[in-house]
């Protein structure tokens, strides 16, 4: 892969780790909806964030298909219309696959700025689906999750790339 000058070479990603992070993000979504925040409209969607992250960094492994499946599971959990989150995650996965070649050439804050329209598009799509199916507009705080997700992009980048940034030749002084 052609990479920008000065960027650290990464270790190969572990598929188990990717699966684990997606599961954890799903769990976090559930946790904040069931215990902390209730059905607050501004709660960020961690699963969407992690899915977009992997679709950009590992487009051959995670993409439209997995996004669709996890969207279906989210629909069942949230008791929403079956296919609503599946549709938004699918579109979001497609958009992420489309921009993955370009976006990694920028530094991380600019990347966050570039994924913001992507999250916003997904959120607006969900809103229009809801209103088409006869829902009510839940208030302007509904537009907050994409912004929060974009803000979390640098944090997620550090966390999810950490296993790949370990030393290639661990020894006594550098066990990790």
């Amino acid at each position: 892969m052609i990479m920008p000058r000065g960027q650290q070479l990464l270790l190969p990603v572990s598929p188990m780790f990717m699966l684990l992070t997606m599961l954890l993000a799903f769990l976090l979504d559930m946790l904040q909806s069931m215990s902390w925040l209730g059905n607050a409209a501004w709660a960020p969607d961690w699963l969407a964030l992690v899915l977009v992250f992997w679709a950009i960094h590992q487009p051959l492994k995670v993409g439209v298909g997995i996004s669709f499946l996890l969207g279906l599971l989210t629909d069942v959990h949230q008791t929403s219309l079956l296919g609503q989150h599946a549709l938004t995650y699918t579109v979001q996965g497609y958009l992420a696959t489309m921009i993955h070649r370009r976006i990694l050439w920028f530094d991380v804050p600019s990347q966050a700025l570039q994924v913001l329209p992507l999250f916003m598009a997904a959120q607006l799509l969900e809103l229009s689906v809801r209103i088409a199916a006869g829902g009510l507009f839940p208030g302007w705080s509904f537009l907050l999750p994409p912004v929060l997700q974009a803000f979390m992009w640098p944090v997620v980048t550090v966390l999810l790339l950490a296993p790949q940034r370990r030393a290639p030749d661990p020894d006594k002084h550098r066990p990790l």
């Binding site: 270790l11 799903f26 059905n39 607050a40 439209v64 599946a86 549709l87 696959t97 006869g134 290639p168």
Partner: protein, 304 residues
């Protein structure tokens, strides 16, 4: 640098799999089809059943921290709080004992009157205790998930109440859990009776931040006052009659409309209920009335 420290497998040149655009078209049309089917037909229910079984372990896991916290909280609940609770319970018992002593006399009187009128005995509804697992995360709807499902014998369209009044109705039954739509949901409507005047009406959910219902189609000059208590009227064949539903809190009478805008506050704790009762729908208890499994749907479709 040792082998394996870099991803050395070259990206495939020719076998790139299905293109992202194809997948996008395929999966979005699939989800649109699913949504359409879910909205208009009842055919995706099996898929929901299967997926709910997949999601259940994750949900169980996500509920653990809350359960642990509750336990810790219980242990450290102060003695004073417990004593206060006992005091309150005693006061409530005293207040109720007066009415309770009247009940026997009233039941007797009622029996006599019913026999006189040759009416059928009023049936007692079967009930099942359940616990609220969580509120649905969707900000557009007012729904709750109960910890009893089809395997425990929950039936679709069963009324659900807490100790204060009607909470909602079971709208989807999964194998291990079930979904209830609250009375405050916009899609929900419930036939009610004003206990002061005996006037019947239909109350619709408001889906707002506050636990409000709207009593629609009441004329501006109708006899209704703030503070009136609305109970289930029992004409729907789903809810047993006489269970409190809501209290009228605000009446707007405007000259330009025929109907008054009447807002009622739900009596059940729609925002903080933990322990609830799932009642058997009345139509199942009535002998020889035929099977009408989706009375609630007929009611909600009237709302649209």
């Amino acid at each position: 640098m040792p082998l394996g420290s870099l991803d050395r497998t070259p990206p495939p040149f020719f076998k790139q799999g299905t293109s992202a655009l194809t997948k996008l078209v395929l999966f979005s049309s699939l989800s649109c089809g699913l949504m359409f089917a879910d909205l208009h037909y009842n055919i995706v229910q099996p898929a929901r059943w299967a997926l709910s079984l997949v999601v259940y372990p994750v949900q169980w896991l996500a509920l653990r921290p809350q359960a642990l916290w509750d336990q810790v909280d219980n242990v450290f609940e102060s003695k004073q709080e417990a004593l206060n609770a006992v005091e309150q319970a005693k006061a409530a018992l005293l207040a109720q004992s007066v009415r309770a002593s009247q009940v026997e006399q009233l039941t007797l009187e009622n029996n006599h009157l019913r026999q006189l009128l040759a009416l059928r005995e009023r049936f007692s509804t079967k009930a099942m205790a359940a616990e609220v697992l969580y509120e649905a995360a969707d900000p557009f709807v007012r729904k709750m998930i109960l910890n009893k499902g089809a395997t425990h014998g929950v039936q679709s369209s069963s009324p659900v109440m807490d100790d204060q009044g009607i909470l909602g109705q079971v709208t989807r039954v999964h194998p291990l859990v079930s979904e209830i739509t609250l009375v405050t949901d916009r899609e929900h409507s419930i036939p009610v009776l004003n206990t002061r005047t005996g006037a019947r009406g239909v109350a619709f959910g408001e889906s707002g931040g506050a636990p409000l219902l709207e009593l629609r189609y009441m004329a501006t000059n109708a006899d209704i006052e703030e503070g009136d208590v609305l109970t289930t009227s029992g004409v729907d064949g789903v809810y047993p009659p006489g269970i409190p539903v809501a209290k009228v809190v605000k009446i707007e009478r405007r000259a330009d409309t025929v109907f008054a805008r009447i807002l009622c506050e739900s009596l059940a704790r729609v925002q903080g209920a933990r322990h609830v009762m799932v009642l058997e729908p009345v139509q199942f208890a009535l002998p020889g009335l035929g099977d009408v499994p989706h009375a609630q749907q007929a009611v909600t479709q009237g709302a649209k």
